[in-house]
């Protein structure tokens, strides 16, 4: 079962080094598969290369899709991270 969530990139620099790395780190905490979709690009959130390839600038709407035992928690955590503008909690 896929769980879906949406989030808009609010920060000016988009998915630059630190945000990309934070996203990658967050996704890796979960056992579920975590995918982020931007237009035609469907990225594996556990791959830093895939995340960079999202080419997501400020204002981009991203769809988060997760599948696995902790899918709900993973989708929520990733969506929250993006929506917060990658603020360190």
């Amino acid at each position: 079962m896929w769980v879906e969530a949406k989030a808009i990139v609010p920060n000016t620099e988009g998915l630059h080094a630190r945000p990309a790395r934070d996203l990658w780190e967050t996704a890796r905490r979960f056992s579920s598969e975590v995918r982020i979709v931007h237009g035609r690009v469907d990225a594996d959130a556990k791959s830093i290369f895939d995340i960079m390839t999202l080419d997501a600038a400020q204002g981009t709407e991203l769809i988060i899709r997760t599948c696995g035992a902790d899918a709900e928690a993973a989708a929520e955590a990733v969506a929250k991270l993006i929506a917060s503008g990658f603020k360190h909690s």
Binding site: R18, R21, D44, K46
Partner: protein, 586 residues
């Protein structure tokens, strides 16, 4: 299979495995199949990842203490993410397990497609992260390779070199018996890589943009220096096609070799002199094999660039290089150009000095005047070598008569000192100048009275006259040897030499470009000095035309005011006379 298009700068076709160099000389490992178990190799990769993680973390800690800019440690956090990326590690381990690749080669191979993706992104900041991926790759390879890094000086197999660009010190150090071709991201027709490739008579394609991204060390690569193509991991069919092309090319070479021993005489009986340009004494053989009557330009810069950082050669090293060339030449002439460093090639002690406009700065003769010990050492060696053959001294970058006179004073002083020491040398050694600065071309009549010969350096003459740096892609299209200003300068120089009764040679690239042969003969050039590989074809053109005919072509060319129209006219005329000279066309 991937076909890449670049600028062909040295002809020939070669199929070899790639040796990839990055800017810091770290060799990306050659394809290597392991004979031990894949499990051990994967373990080796994992250990290297752990060691690299520690390296990156240590640097990050250090930077965190020293720098307040928060973006810097972020970059290292990204490096750690790249290093431990699931996809990357999975791909690399898969290559080891399924294909028995070595850990080094797998790392390099697994990162290639990621690099390509990143370089294709819209966001400039993200595109630049490709540099970070390379950085992680480099660190990882260093840990994997340990002390097993191979260097360019000690190659085991024949290879082609794939690099961003080759520096003079890199080419000075490479094992010339093992390197069979070059393919580089950067560069143009007059770039250092191009000159060296032509000197070594190996195929080269430059200006490929991103060939270093597409090739992993050990991949099979075809370099087609005739068409400017580089084919990465060619399929069977392509390999077969190129094997037959390689064969055809050699046949063509054999045909051209047949005219090697024929004289360079035009149809109406005008005798033309053909000389070779060289950078290493060993190339004399190639020049003579091509039918040269001597060496019209011996560039001595390589003596200075053999080591990194550059070290000035001793008098003995100069002397040995010159006598080596003279031994091979017998009684044929050797024109030695004095040190022409500066601008794109760094002088030995350039460290710290920074010139805003190096091509208009302290280069060549100007640099020598500021470092008299360099010039004195070289002049002594040239003079001492002069008893072993026919030696001539060629002074580069002369822009005023005073410079010529000053250089002659240096020569006179060196002679006086040798006389005092009782050392033998040729007292009447001819001294000529390069005509490569517009001021020297315009006042060639004055220079002719005080020079024994001229040699026109077209690369610099064109660049200075048209104010165009050919290596700069924004203006490169303005670089045109057929510009009316160039043609009238050349005509003027030929005439000045003729009036004074001194020989005028041309050693720049234009002299070896068959498009201009008829024009140059028509304008009055009788001495060509070209890269050895160009000699047979040049002779073929010379033997197929009459001076009469060339004069008509030159006259027609002088009447045109559009360099492109001129070039078209010249190509058309040349093609009429020697259609087979153009073997680049499909």
């Amino acid at each position: 299979m991937e076909i890449k298009r670049g600028i062909p700068v040295s002809p020939g076709v070669v199929i070899k495995r790639a040796f990839v160099l990055d800017t810091e000389d770290v060799r990306i490992p050659r394809r290597h199949f392991i004979d031990t178990d894949a499990g051990g190799e994967i373990q080796r990769l994992r250990s290297a990842v752990i060691a690299t993680r520690a390296d990156i973390a240590a640097i990050r800690e250090k930077i965190l203490k020293e720098v307040s800019d928060s973006s810097v440690p972020n970059i290292f956090a990204l490096h750690l993410a790249i290093l431990e990326d699931d996809q990357f590690i999975r791909d690399a381990e898969k290559l080891i397990r399924e294909r028995n690749y070595s850990a080094e080669y797998s790392v390099s191979r697994a990162l290639r497609p990621q690099l390509k993706r990143i370089q294709g992104l819209r966001d400039e900041y993200l595109r630049e992260r490709a540099g970070d991926v390379r950085d992680v790759e480099r660190r990882l390879l260093k840990n994997l390779l340990g002390q097993r890094r191979e260097d360019l000086q000690h190659l085991v197999h024949e290879v082609v070199i794939v690099a961003r660009d080759l520096t003079p010190s890199q080419t000075a150090n490479l094992d010339r018996n093992k390197v069979r071709g070059f393919a580089t991201d950067a560069g143009g027709r007059t770039s250092h890589t191009a000159i060296v490739a032509r000197a070594l008579e190996i195929p080269a394609v430059v200006g490929l943009g991103d060939v270093t991204t597409d090739v992993s060390g050990g991949d099979w690569v075809i370099i087609d220096g005739n068409r400017g193509l580089v084919i990465v991991s060619p399929d069977e069919k392509t390999i077969r096609k190129y094997e037959s092309l390689e064969h055809e090319y050699h046949e063509k070479e054999v045909q051209l070799a047949e005219i090697r021993d024929l004289p360079a005489i035009t149809l109406d009986g005008e005798r033309i002199n053909l000389y070779g340009n060289i950078e290493f004494p060993e190339e004399v053989t190639a020049a003579l094999n091509g039918g040269a009557e001597g060496i019209g330009l011996y560039r001595t810069e390589f003596l200075y660039l053999r080591e990194q950082p550059a070290v000035a050669p001793t008098e003995r090293e100069h002397f040995e290089a010159y006598t080596k060339a003279l031994n091979l030449l017998g009684d044929r002439p050797l024109v030695i150009r004095t040190l022409d460093l500066g601008a794109d090639k760094f002088p030995p002690d350039a460290g710290g000095q920074f010139e805003k406009n190096p091509f208009l700065g302290s280069r060549s003769l100007r640099y020598c005047f500021q470092h008299p010990e360099l010039l004195n050492t070289q002049l002594r060696a040239i003079l001492r070598a002069s008893v072993f053959g026919k030696v001539r001294i060629l002074l580069p970058m002369v822009s005023t008569l005073q410079e010529l006179r000053r250089a002659k004073e240096f020569i006179a002083n060196a002679k006086a000192r040798l006389d005092a020491e009782g050392v033998a040398f040729e007292h009447k050694i001819p001294v000529g100048i390069m005509i490569e600065v517009p001021s020297a071309a315009v006042t060639a009549g004055d220079f002719a009275k005080e020079s024994d010969f001229f040699s026109i350096g077209t690369n610099d003459l064109i660049q200075y006259t048209l104010a165009v740096d050919r290596g700069n892609p924004h203006v490169a299209d303005l670089y045109n040897p057929a510009h009316p200003a160039i043609l009238s300068l050349l005509k003027h120089v030929f005439k000045a030499g003729h009036t004074a009764g001194i020989p005028v040679a041309m050693c720049g690239e234009m002299s070896g470009d068959l498009d201009y042969t008829m024009l140059l003969l028509g304008l009055g050039l009788r001495v060509f000095s070209v890269s050895p590989i160009m000699l047979p074809e040049l002779k073929k053109v010379i033997r197929s035309v009459s001076i009469e005919q060339c004069k008509a072509v030159a006259e027609a060319a002088m009447k045109l005011d559009d360099p492109l129209a001129t070039l078209n006219l010249l190509r058309g005329e040349t093609r009429k006379v020697v259609p087979e000279a153009y073997f680049d066309e499909e």
